[in-house]
Point group: C2
Chain length 252, copies 2
């Protein structure tokens, strides 16, 4: 739960004075604010209101404080959002590497998806923000590199394979849980259904035939996102294809 602030190398160490050096605050009571409280409250707001409706002012209100109070702990909104995603991803790396590198990769990708499922509104932030906490990231990076080397891949291919793996881990899930505009959900769903059922079987034979399996159960042809309708089959197929392809390229 806790991110052990202070023991971790905080990326982007933002020149804002980090609060507790040593036994500070000899005064009466603890400060009302802290990095941890702010991050927890921010995550709470993002989880419940979505990232668009998350504002420094609302966060301040939730914390019972004036907006600018937050800025003593965090340099700006972007940095705060980065810390929230780092917090969410803190427990990503599996503890125990197994005997089978393919199982390890599978586990990592599924763990990532499970985390985002618990905090879907964070999904759109992952792309830009998977850079926030270097210590966590270095562990994860090393973990992935080790798995890839055990796969038997050519050593020279490991950097490319690493990037491919991270892309596979984050890409699908980010899309799956991407926010769906909630302006007029039902109108949108209705139009999508209508287009789907009026898909000309002459022009689009396969799409028309498979529509019952695709409608609101696959990318593009949906109006709910992964929170409401998880794309389990698609994700599994994606993961297994990627791993199988890696295995083939590694000579298995």
């Amino acid at each position: 739960m806790s991110t052990h602030p202070g023991t971790e190398i905080t990326m982007h160490a933002d020149d804002a004075p980090q609060p507790p050096k040593r036994k500070r605050r000899p005064s009466k009571d603890a400060p009302s604010l802290s990095s941890d409280r702010i991050i927890a409250a921010a995550l709470d707001l993002i989880d419940t209101q979505g990232v668009d409706n998350f504002s420094m002012r609302n966060l301040a209100k939730l914390l019972g404080v004036y907006p600018m109070a937050i800025y003593w702990y965090v340099p700006n909104r972007n940095a705060l959002v980065a810390r929230v995603t780092a917090h969410v991803l803190a427990d990503l790396v599996p503890e125990d590497p197994s005997a089978d590198w393919q199982d390890d990769l599978r586990t990592l990708l599924h763990r990532f998806r499970a985390i985002i499922r618990a905090h879907p509104n964070v999904a759109p932030l992952i792309g830009a923000q998977l850079v926030s906490n270097a210590s966590v990231d270095l562990m994860m990076i090393e973990w992935v590199l080790q798995v890839l080397r055990r796969s038997g891949l050519n050593e020279a291919d490991i950097p490319a394979a690493y990037t491919a793996t991270i892309g596979a881990m984050t890409g699908f899930v980010t899309q799956e849980f991407a926010a769906v505009p909630q302006d007029d959900k039902t109108g949108w769903a209705d139009e999508m259904k209508q287009i789907a059922q009026s898909a000309d079987p002459e022009q689009f034979p396969l799409a028309a035939a498979l529509m019952p399996k695709l409608l609101n159960r696959s990318f593009i042809l949906r109006w709910d996102n992964g929170s409401a309708v998880p794309l389990d089959d698609g994700f599994d197929f994606f993961v297994e294809s990627f791993i199988a392809g890696l295995a083939r390229r590694a000579g298995h």
Copy 2:
């Protein structure tokens, strides 16, 4: 270039009255605004300023018009952004299917990347907005389904394979071109470099050893995005792995 408005089924037909039915505007001169002009100007702004700095008010200024004038053509900012991404993706589907389904898939994924490379600031919008123009999408969907059937996959696997394919197409590239916070770019780069070179070889042996190949050339360990530093090798490895995995699952 032109999206032929009126000939396409516009998804989310938003009840705003769509302008030209028949020979309208018998009056003096053409209206100063049009859907096409607005979309083109919006794309221009997004390309140059980024999506964060893109506002209805700036767009109005660029068009030489009051902000609310735009609202006669577009119901709101989100819808406008959706149309922009649809416009950008209009030419995604390749014209000529080849003899080899693997080549076709490769072509599609590379075309997608080329489009996003030309408009990288649109990348973060793709996830939520690959839903905007149903006619384009149906063509693309049918195209993908046809390719997958030619692969020899089990018919029952095609829906999952379809979602996996779209996820593969959009996921990696969306991450590759995700915006990098430009608050203090150089400071960020410096810290990243420092963490990289001080990576403990005891704790992170592979990461430390491969760091020269990884630093700013792979996910997470970078400060530039795909516009400045394209991840060509990673992308190729990803695409080839996915296709190889598909082939294996199809029994090749």
